[in-house]
């Protein structure tokens, strides 16, 4: 979840439900009923994000009890225990196939939200996301793993979650164990793994799904140097074969060196999208600006 923004807990004036409905209806007329589409549009474009706005509800401490809902129903919407804010507002950009895109921004800028929107887990209330081909995300490593199961059982579980048939998974098992260097511990429940081992298995599984678009959050930081080199080698191979990678990171130097394009997010807005070194400059300016604001508030 994104952290606090200005006015985080203030009651919002906008009626979320009705604005959402309006947005949906407008969208239906423009784009049919789907705000996240996967398919062929233009062969060169991998990702097309058009005017995307994602609105979060910031709930009060309690997620709400039945009583509150009944009260709210009786008062016809007068009792509201959440406020809302835009985690992404009016974000648009395009990514060409085979490119490495970096997304940077301070904490709570909407980076993870952007990845989740690209993966189709979050549906924007306004705008459209188009992904050309299969998408896989490494937002949290090993989502879908069961900690009680061993590596091989988890590979089957993970593969089946991505709609891969049993025979296909069977062929991949040893390849995944090779890459993650976990042959020795293949029959150990993953709850006994170190965080590095866990990350290696998660990364190996995700890479092996061979997605057209790979979304990577700050997850590779756990591996050691050797594994990181291995990862970047694989990612280079992916890029060479025309796959697209979108990566969120706080490791600005690496991204500046490796990314083809960098997008800078600040408070849900896309400040800049383009040349890496320019992007980093804008990001630093933005940080300095926010720090100065904090300074003013403190004094």
């Amino acid at each position: 979840m994104n952290s606090a923004q200005d006015g985080f807990f203030e009651e919002d004036i906008i009626d979320l439900e009705s604005s959402k409905k309006d947005a949906r209806n407008a969208l239906k007329q423009v784009a049919g009923d789907s705000s996240h589409s996967v398919g062929k549009e233009t062969d060169k474009i991998a990702i097309d994000v058009k005017n995307v706005t994602v609105r979060y509800r910031a709930y009060a401490e309690r997620p709400g009890s039945l009583k509150e809902h009944i009260l709210r129903f009786l008062h016809k919407g007068k009792v509201r225990y959440y406020s809302s804010f835009d985690a992404l507002s009016n974000v648009s950009f395009q990514v060409e196939k085979g490119k490495f895109i970096g997304i940077i921004g301070s904490n709570g800028a909407g980076k993870s939200t952007l990845l989740k929107t690209l993966s189709g887990v979050i549906r924007p209330i306004v705008g459209e996301v188009f992904c050309n081909g299969s998408v896989d995300s490494l937002i949290k490593l090993g989502a879908g793993f069961d900690r009680e199961l061993n590596a091989i059982e988890n590979i089957y579980l993970y593969g089946s979650l991505h709609k891969i048939s049993r025979d296909d998974i069977k062929e991949r098992v040893s390849k995944i164990l090779d890459f993650s260097e976990l042959h020795e511990f293949a029959y150990t429940p993953v709850k006994y793994y170190s965080s590095g081992m866990y990350a290696r298995l998660g990364f190996a599984c995700a890479i092996d799904m061979n997605p057209d678009i790979l979304l990577v959050d700050e997850v590779l930081a756990v591996g050691d140097e050797r594994f990181r080199i291995k990862c970047s080698k694989v990612m280079n191979e992916l890029l060479d074969s025309g796959k697209t990678i979108v990566m969120v990171s706080h490791n600005i130097a690496t991204l500046e060196r490796r990314a083809d394009t960098i997008g800078v997010l600040s408070k849900g807005k896309l400040l800049y999208y383009g040349d890496p070194s320019e992007a980093v400059k804008i990001y630093r300016d933005d940080l300095r600006y926010e720090t100065s604001l904090d300074g003013n508030r403190l004094s």
Partner: protein, 263 residues
């Protein structure tokens, strides 16, 4: 029309994620008995011990019933499937939030997977039932082979209620407590400990509105009495199940976008 499109999406998703359903049933089985010596035997011993305890208590209260242990066991089958699936299906969306956050998967798949595990447990419990029947000398009935037919409305009903509760649990913690009370009342309204023939007609008339009444009793009919299910109660339960699952899918669809914010 939307009712049917919702159902077709439901069946399409089950087909698409058939491999995941299989793997998660295997996972449940593996996890359940990972550290136990008797392993899968527990799936059979559990219902057996419940039956023994209840038989000791109730066979003296209801001396008119012939072979009360078989009578009880065949009634428990249907009820335990319903109860177990509801209890494990209820938190299933919530406990799979890590997947919900990352993979655009229809969340009802998690509920279906618990229902599949329930079916496996149901089948395993048939083994001790047969053993008990042989031990106490209850004649085996050929009608027992028809149990899948009676199981269908029970399965749909269970899935419907489990999905309804699973969706509600994500948003309200109250549901967990509510369901505990609901289930204990429901248990006594369902002919597990008693049979419909032991009820006075004016009570029975009302009890039959309980959609679980017919499937539980009809399963007993197949295994214990050797009677075929009556059509009207069967149709009532089936229709009730289809409507409740449709309602659950409708509510699910309305909440679909909001789940991820509760991760």
């Amino acid at each position: 029309m939307k009712f049917f499109s919702r159902y077709s999406f439901f069946f399409k998703s089950i087909y698409e994620y058939r491999e995941y359903l299989l793997q998660s049933v295997l996972r449940d089985l593996r996890k359940k008995y990972k550290r136990s010596v008797l392993g899968y035997l527990w799936s059979m011993l559990g219902p057996l011990f419940t039956m023994i305890v209840l038989t000791v208590v109730f066979s003296n209260l209801l001396p008119r019933v012939h072979n009360y242990s078989v009578f009880l066991f065949s009634g428990l089958l249907g009820w335990q499937y319903f109860q177990q699936t509801l209890n494990s299906g209820m938190p299933s969306i919530q406990s799979n939030m890590r997947i919900v956050e990352q993979v655009p998967i229809p969340k009802f798949i998690f509920v279906i997977s618990t229902s599949c595990s329930g079916i496996v447990n149901f089948m395993l419990a048939l083994v001790p039932l047969l053993l008990v029947m042989i031990v106490v000398g209850q004649p085996l009935q050929w009608t027992a082979l028809l149990f899948p037919i009676v199981f269908i409305p029970l399965m749909i009903l269970t899935l419907g209620f489990a999905l309804l509760f699973a969706v509600a649990t994500v948003f309200f913690d109250d549901v967990k407590h509510l369901s505990r009370i609901l289930l204990s009342a429901w248990y006594y309204l369902t002919p597990v400990l008693y049979g419909p023939e032991l009820m006075p007609p004016h009570v029975l008339r009302w009890l039959q509105f309980n959609p679980l009444f017919a499937p539980v009793d009809q399963l007993r009919g197949l295994f214990y009495r050797g009677t075929l299910p009556e059509l009207l109660p069967y149709a009532y339960s089936l229709a009730f199940g289809v409507v409740i699952l449709g309602l659950a899918l409708w509510i699910y669809e309305r909440c679909d976008d909001k789940f991820v914010y509760f991760a």
